[in-house]
């Protein structure tokens, strides 16, 4: 599995109505730490088949960023059963994201 890019149009179906946990990476192209984090998320998406991995470009989808009170990126939110379960802000090492996913 790779990290799937979503939009406001697909967010509800792909994240809120998903029947497995979804990790959503809120990012922007101009954000260096976001670009640094992405390969780690790609790796994890191969290793953790129990979790779906998605990404939202906050410049293209500002309403979603606002809905989730995001004021700093990268911001990674773990959704379970249609609601936010936890979030991690900033660049973190792979081990920290493994712990975050549980």
């Amino acid at each position: 599995m790779a990290v799937k890019t979503l939009t406001e149009a697909t967010f509800k179906e792909e994240v809120l109505q998903a029947n497995q946990p979804v990790l959503v990476d809120f990012y922007a192209d101009w954000c260096g730490p976001c670009r640094m984090l992405r390969p780690t998320l790609e790796e994890l998406s191969e290793e953790r088949t129990d979790v779906k991995f998605a990404a939202i470009n906050i410049d293209d989808n500002p309403e979603l960023a606002d809905d989730f009170d995001i004021s700093s990126i990268p911001c990674v939110i773990l959704f379970k059963n249609g609601a936010e379960a936890d979030r991690s802000v900033g660049l973190v090492p792979k081990e920290a994201l493994e712990d975050f996913l549980g």
């Binding site: 260096g32 670009r35 960023a65 004021s71 990126i73 660049l91 090492p93």
Partner: protein
């Protein structure tokens, strides 16, 4: 055994790796997070010779690839301790121990938190340590910047262009940062200086709603802000190595231009070293000097 273990894969550490490899020394770079260090937060580098314009991410990636192509080995492990065995040193991580003839500490620095209750929980929900990274989230809103150095002044100037209102909070009545920036700020209609004051409380529901500032006389004032940019300095990441290197009062590693510490075979390079100018170009310069010194040390 590796010739040189370099702790930190920022601009200083990676430049040291390049110099050490070109001197035919074996090199292991240990990095706790990701390569590049804090330069990856900078969207536009425009003061590095030859590169008129490059992003921090691209700069970091190019240096990283250059070091790797020259044969530097890079492991993503956090160095916890250095042991001095005389002629050799042992660098300890959670995953292993690495023996080296010389060690270069290029760990840089991290943001100093404000130290107000609830701060950590609000990072990414109104509190930020990087105006150029997160400023765009506060377009048309009221924000505060706290600090008195150049970073605080530059953050306030940057936010004055984006935000509706900017409060600049400083615990003293004069700024340490450049006079020219302070004068520019004073001329701006949407910037208010809140001097002789400290942030004493953060009010939030899901995100930051307001902050309380207390002045020297004890008067409390509430500022309705949705963003608080903390620019109260940085903490050099030298503490784990303190027994072997001398630190100044602020925690910076004491070493002259030659990057030598008080322990033979241990060198320090970059922002975590005592110096007046902390720029990308001074970090890479330190990397070159420290590696050259380490090579001389090993050869002699």
């Amino acid at each position: 055994m590796t010739d040189i273990v370099i702790i930190g894969a920022g601009p200083a550490g990676l430049t040291a790796a390049i110099y050490a490899r070109r001197a035919s020394k074996s090199v292991l770079v240990l990095e706790a997070m990701s390569y590049g260090g804090q330069i990856i937060n900078t969207p536009h580098i425009e003061n590095y010779p030859v590169a008129a314009h490059i992003s921090g991410f691209d700069f970091a990636t190019k240096v990283y690839e250059q070091a790797k192509a020259l044969g530097a080995e890079i492991k993503f492990q956090k160095a916890l301790e250095i042991r001095d065995n005389g002629d050799t040193k042992t660098v300890v991580t959670a995953k292993g121990e690495y023996e080296a003839k010389a060690v270069i500490i290029a760990t840089g620095s991290k943001n100093r938190p404000l130290g107000v209750d609830g701060e950590k929980k609000l990072v990414g929900r109104g509190i930020s340590y990087c105006a150029t990274c997160d400023g765009a989230f506060f377009r048309g809103k009221a924000v505060a910047v706290v600090g008195g150095g150049n970073t605080a002044l530059e953050d306030a100037l940057y936010m004055a262009d984006i935000a509706e209102k900017v409060y600049l909070i400083h615990r003293r009545d004069a700024f340490r940062g450049e006079e020219a920036s302070a004068e520019k700020l004073q001329a701006l209609d949407n910037v208010e200086l809140v001097l002789n004051s400290q942030v004493t409380k953060l009010n939030a529901d899901k995100r930051l709603q307001s902050i309380e500032v207390t002045d020297k006389q004890g008067n409390v004032r509430t500022l309705e802000v949705s963003g608080l940019f903390v620019a109260v300095g940085r903490i050099p990441e030298n503490q784990p190595f303190a027994p072997l290197i001398e630190l100044d009062g602020a925690g910076y590693a004491v070493a002259a231009e030659n990057c030598r510490t008080k322990t033979k075979g241990i060198f320090v390079a970059g922002d975590n070293r005592v110096k007046d100018v902390r720029q990308l170009v001074t970090a890479t310069a330190d990397g070159a000097v420290a590696a050259t010194e380490a090579v001389h040390y090993i050869n002699s």
